[in-house]
Symmetry: C3
Subunit: 335 residues, 3 copies
């Protein structure tokens, strides 16, 4: 039997995504389960985490399983991902061994591996999680690399809870300022899931340099076509917010400036006014606001927006627990 991984929602059909969301909603109503009884999950963090780690660890527990948390290079050995290397540098072992050995111990392997922010042509290959998927003999789950599919599910579930059917809703993914150039993962993921749900999606960003990688733009257009929605890019704040049903905010570094962040910095600084505030939200169709968290208050969104009843970021964060239980139960159940 082929191993089914959860690396990107793009590998899962709309029907399969809907099934995961239904399972998640069921876990939200009734948290306890035995789908992972006696089973174990390895959580590998190459980058820090609060929500992801807590929700995966407790999700495994609530289903009768146990998660072991590993931080390679910190409390575990640094790992080599390239094949054929003469390993006389830092890494003490190769992904071939790491993935195979963990597959003997654990029933699921979950990986967080952010880009290195030096060369997008390298980072966009998503080598770390692909190497895990290549060598592992158990399912691999993406805990955020250059996409963040678990966040997508949590986001979609929160939107459905508040809006019901999402088809043809106006969805704005807005870039916001952040003092550092951040990962495009959640932005890529927002495009994928919003278009998959058939929404009319506007990507709002300061300049064409902030448009996302063409791979995800193309997936977005394809999803829109297949699910009756649309995807467009806008640099006009007022136009984008007008009549929006959903505003989703995220900061990210402009891809053409990848690795040359000092040159991008003044451009970013010049667009601090992209902050989500009450005036902008007033332009929407009583729109919901959300964000994947962590969020810098009064930089990405104002206190007033974060504390407003239309802010569903905490609901979305809670849903991480439920959707990840659905993903784990589904993948472990196939074995």
């Amino acid at each position: 039997m082929t191993i089914r991984h959860f690396l990107t929602t793009q590998d899962w059909s709309r029907a399969e995504i809907d099934a995961l969301l239904e399972q998640a909603a069921a876990f939200k109503r009734s948290p306890a389960g035995a789908q992972l009884a006696g089973k174990s999950v390895a959580l590998l963090f190459f980058n820090p985490s609060m929500r992801t780690r807590t929700s995966f660890e407790l999700g495994a527990f609530q289903l009768g399983g146990h998660a072991v948390v590993l931080s390679p290079g910190k409390d575990a050995w640094p790992i080599e991902f390239e094949p054929g290397m003469v390993m006389d540098g830092e890494p003490e072992e190769h992904i071939a061994e790491v993935a195979r050995v963990l597959s003997r111990y654990a029933d699921l392997i979950c990986v967080r591996a952010f880009p290195k922010f030096q060369d997008w042509s390298v980072d966009r290959q998503d080598k770390v999680i692909k190497a895990f998927a290549q060598y592992a003999t158990v399912p691999v789950i993406n805990m955020e690399t250059i996409t963040h599919p678990c966040q997508e599910l949590a986001h979609a579930l929160a939107l459905r809870e508040h809006l019901g059917d999402l088809a043809k809703k106006k969805y704005v993914l807005t870039w916001t300022y952040h003092p550092k150039p951040l990962n495009t993962a959640v932005a890529n993921s927002a495009l994928l899931i919003a278009t998959k749900m058939g929404m009319d999606v506007t990507l709002l960003c300061p300049t064409p340099d902030y448009v996302l990688d063409e791979r995800y733009m193309e997936f977005g257009r394809l999803n829109a076509e297949q699910n009756g929605g649309s995807l467009k890019v806008s640099h006009d704040i007022e136009e984008a917010y007008s009549g929006a049903d959903v505003v989703y905010a995220k900061s990210w570094g402009a891809l053409p400036y990848f690795g040359r962040w000092e040159q991008e910095k003044p451009i970013r600084e010049a667009h601090r006014h992209f902050i989500v505030d009450e005036a902008k939200m007033a332009l929407t169709n009583h729109g919901l606001f959300s964000h994947c968290l962590p969020l810098r208050r009064n930089v990405k969104a104002t206190d007033a927006v974060m504390d407003a009843p239309y802010c569903i970021a905490i609901d979305e964060a809670e849903n991480r627990l439920h959707v990840q239980k659905a993903v784990m139960a589904t993948l472990a159940g196939r074995r």
Copy 2:
């Protein structure tokens, strides 16, 4: 229903404290329970821990629950605690989100946050745990901030095991030397619980500069009055030890020198003779000795004292497990 936290024993009546101690004694006789079955506990450590982490984690397990351990700023994101900030510094997220999200995942939130040792007027506000209590929608438990209420319960239980009723016993809290200026938390806590138990308490310290914060001195006097004991300060080692039933040692930095530790250092160095040794213990009424641990042997107490039958520090440490199970079971049972 109001959320009941466990931030300081001062918020809990003598009868409530007695009930917690009885529950703890019951857990000591019979460790297994189902009070946390399917429930989870988030343990947040802003500072290192051995006993606290182990005893909370295993305590949750023994009651059927699961504890997730987080170190913000190390393996989780750094957190902002001030309201209304434009968050363009280090912290990636605000306590408002952290506490609310964790409340969705976990049934209890436990926090260790030591003072920063720069400005006592800031540290004495105990902002970190108060912010958690403000924003969390589940009970918050103090794992040591500027008081250490779980240590208090463990200490009181150990004393009762050896002395029975504690009323009118002579209790000496003695300052000891340590190469670094330490937190006053356990000293504050010792005052609170010893007076709450109606003991005759002597705070023994080198000079008036080492008297504890007036807030805790005042709580101590109040407790003494209500529970039939007394509280006095002494700088005379012989007088203090004479006839003592209990000697509890702790080192702490002098509050008037807070943040100017180089100036305090020679004063501390001049009082190395406050070390607890056999000669001093010989002055007591066959007194017990204890300490919260970690303890530097032959600096705070001699090997002979630590290895003597009257040293109950290991019993006190064990009791951390039992009392914390009582606190968790009590708070989780109210939800």
Copy 3:
């Protein structure tokens, strides 16, 4: 009743080792158990770990128990191991308290403590784990110090799975190059277990300087004598590999150069050709290859060897889980 520890296989008879291996094989066939139901295990890591931590933590879970993971000096307090010290340096507490307190919380204490690589006459005393065994009131398990007995059991189980009875098989322990001087623990352990299984053991190394500590050479000769095998040293690659049934590779620093590693470096560098490759393996009797992992590919063994069907390193790594469950179940069952 005396406490039984698992510090080295040399303290356990051949019959006892065989019983552990049988129990491990039974766990491999049927992983779930209740031998640690309600019990807990403290895992103390003074050095990093991936396999060891994962396999111990999941092994405890599979037997109904819970493992708490501690890293003294990192997320727990630094520890003093010498008796009688005036503790005014770095360590905040003494092993006497650490071991006694952990013994009150946990049913088993497992310790990883590598040598410090400055003075072999100090490191060979194995003070850290011996201090734990001295002060603990529960069984202590060695997770690698200057021997690695759990690896021995995993190795022996993997060899038996592939070869059946091991008596009189030709076993080659070969030194290999590594850019850093490594611990001799696994090499010492390979000698102990291979001789205990009655194999004809050849220690292959570049020069007499790389022969292992006389303590382990002597144990090896003793074991060989008692179990019908043999032990010899060789510096001739071709002779050693010829007709071998098992090739086990490991790198280690030469003991006479301990703490003077810059002087050893050119010697090590001159023996990079000790790498395990297909040409060398072709000299064997269809021999198996294994290694304890982590392994630097194309430095210690080539990709071709690592990916060959005769490489059983992944099986050996998997067996860590099963043998450690056997050790934990056996020791906890005696209490």
